[in-house]
Amino acid sequence: MDLIDILLSATFWAAVLRIASPLIFATMGELICERAGVLNLGIEGIMVAGAFAGWIAVYAGLPLWAGVGCAFLTGVMFGLIHGTLTVPFGLSQHVVGIGLTLLATSATYFAYRVALPEVSSPPRIEAFQPTGWPILGSQTVLTWAALATVAITAWVLYRTPLGLALRAVGENPAAVEAQGLPVHGLRMGAVAVGSGLMAVGGSFLTLSAFNSFFFDMVNGRGWICIALVVFGAWMPGRALLGALLFAGFDAFQVRLQQTELGAGLPYQLFLAMPYLLSILALILMSRRAEVPAALMTPYNKGER
């Protein structure tokens, strides 16, 4: 297979969207948190928990959309833990985030073992099927939902009073307080909803991309999303572009492995590409990015 053939094949572009979808949900989630001034390093663990929650709900007999809803609520729950510790209590967002990733991941594995003590391989579910619509027919409806999430996030952030308040709370919380708006409430809300979206991103893996839950299936995607937020300069549209570019590279490398050129190289090099690309993206964007001014700065009334 030629390199040009890869880029011209329809399955390649279908794969790009499929790979991008979970990243889009989670990147939007992280972007909302960070725009409000809270770095959420719980993302990796929240995606694991969301992947499990969505899958186990469907396995227990709930409809697929209810599975997505369960994932979202699981994310919100972990988001509220993160928010409570980092917003009113102002604890280190680094430490709490890493702690939350450890907590969510281990709680998920524990729950899996308790729920399914006897199974050797995880049971399958009936996952979302391709829509077959004239446009993007090979994608499931969850991919459309991911794209819609970007549009909604952008609209809320830039076109509504709520979005203005959210952006302001990440730039200058004292000014928001002076307007009589609840700084802590806005930040908590952003972290809760953002974490919900991260969990939905995780559930895409179990409810659409695959039809089962595996340990380690999130495999660093959360950390990649944090890099994508920086790459997107904290703007939803650019972050979407970043996710698509990234997924494009990922889909390309899988196909490159099957070419003559790729067969001569160790496969681990291809598997490491996503992480290396994320680091490269961070380096390229670091100088130009407009970081929300109050990111990682807790707000305590009456303190300057």
Binding site: F89, H94, V96, I283
Partner: protein, 348 residues
């Protein structure tokens, strides 16, 4: 609500909240045991018993604590200077790679090979963290994300080495490195007991780090940079150089965990020598309040929970992941408790 500093916290306040955090963790443990269908009191008892109940269990706990002391120290040193090294896992693996390479390839005579392996490991780990640190100081790239992402890269690199250039030709096809020769193995502390000198080295390192932090200019500068990098810069401290030195020490310490596991315990390198020691080091360091001597105590505590939970899981059937949950909960409760011991929550 808002937070008001407590001028002079009483001893009861400073000890009460952390004690409450530990108590809350025990309550969570009991709840989890009940959820999994076990008898909470029996499960807790079996964890304690599995950790310290027999001589074998106590040695196992000491062995498990050894890499955690190294990674805990690595994290404590870095976090003290607010250098967010989440990459101890990667540094550990590179240290292990260097250890095996020198141990099997150098052909150095007996007494020289072990110091050479340790030095090689330290250099590998230090270089591993220096990269992200320079990216942070020169270009402003957040080191949390780079160190995290590099963990995955290094693990894949080790996988490649073990299936390719470093693969043991006698390994029956398993991805593992050749075994170290006998003179490249760390001796046991007491002959006949399964505890190697890696543990002794870990204690020496803890004391050394304490000495550097408490008694040297560098230690003072590291603390100052961590407390307020801008103020440190105004005071004329070379902040970037201090961070670079911190990175070298932290990366080197984490790499010694890999050295000690390979040369002391396993004798060869596989891709699974660390079940997350690098990440657990964060919990170890935080529970120790970033104090290097405290790291020893908290590593023993954390190792005990892991060893105890493994043994409990075999007999009581409660998944051993309970240990990871408890440590994460303990971490979150503890940071909250430390804050509450210094601040008062006021309405309005």
């Amino acid at each position: 609500m808002r937070l008001e500093p407590v001028e002079a916290p009483t001893l009861a306040r400073r000890l009460g909240y952390p004690a409450a955090a530990l108590a809350a963790t025990v309550v969570v443990a009991a709840l989890l045991a009940a959820v999994a269908g076990g008898n909470p009191a029996a499960v807790l008892g079996q964890i304690v018993d599995g950790a310290v109940g027999t001589k074998f269990a106590r040695l196992e706990t000491l062995n498990r604590a050894t890499p955690l002391i190294f990674t805990g120290l690595a994290v404590a040193v870095a976090f003290r200077a607010k250098l967010w090294n989440i990459g101890a896992e990667a540094q550990l693996y590179l240290g292990a790679v260097a250890t095996v390479l020198i141990g099997t390839q150098s052909g150095l005579p007996g007494p020289l090979v072990i110091p050479a392996m340790a030095a090689g490991a330290v250099i590998a780990g230090a270089a591993m963290l220096l990269g992200p640190t320079l990216l942070k100081t020169k270009l402003g790239v957040d080191e949390v994300v780079t160190t995290l992402l590099l963990n995955f890269v290094v693990l894949l690199f080790v996988g490649y080495l073990l299936e390719g250039p470093m693969k043991d030709p006698m390994g029956m096809g398993w991805p593992k490195s050749p075994s170290l020769p006998k003179e490249a193995r760390l001796p046991r502390i007491v002959e006949g007991l399964r505890l190697h000198w890696g543990f002794g080295l870990a204690l020496i390192c803890a004391f050394g780090v304490w000495l550097v932090q408490a008694r040297t200019t560098l230690g003072f500068e590291m603390r100052a940079v961590g407390l307020n990098a801008r103020a440190a810069r105004f005071a004329g401290m070379p902040v970037n150089a201090v961070l670079a030195k911190t990175a070298l020490i932290s990366g080197g310490l984490a790499a010694l965990a890999g050295f000690s596991e390979v040369a002391g315990l396993k004798g060869n390198l596989t891709a699974d020598i660390s079940p997350g020691f690098g990440y657990t080091g964060i919990v170890v360091a935080m529970l120790a309040l970033l104090n290097p001597l405290g790291v020893v105590v908290s590593a023993l505590f954390v190792a005990g929970i892991f060893v105890g939970a493994d043994s409990m899981s075999r007999s009581a059937g409660v998944p051993s992941y309970i240990a990871d949950i408890l440590l994460a909960t303990a971490l979150l409760f503890m940071v909250l408790a430390l804050m509450l011991s210094r601040f008062r929550v006021v309405r309005g």
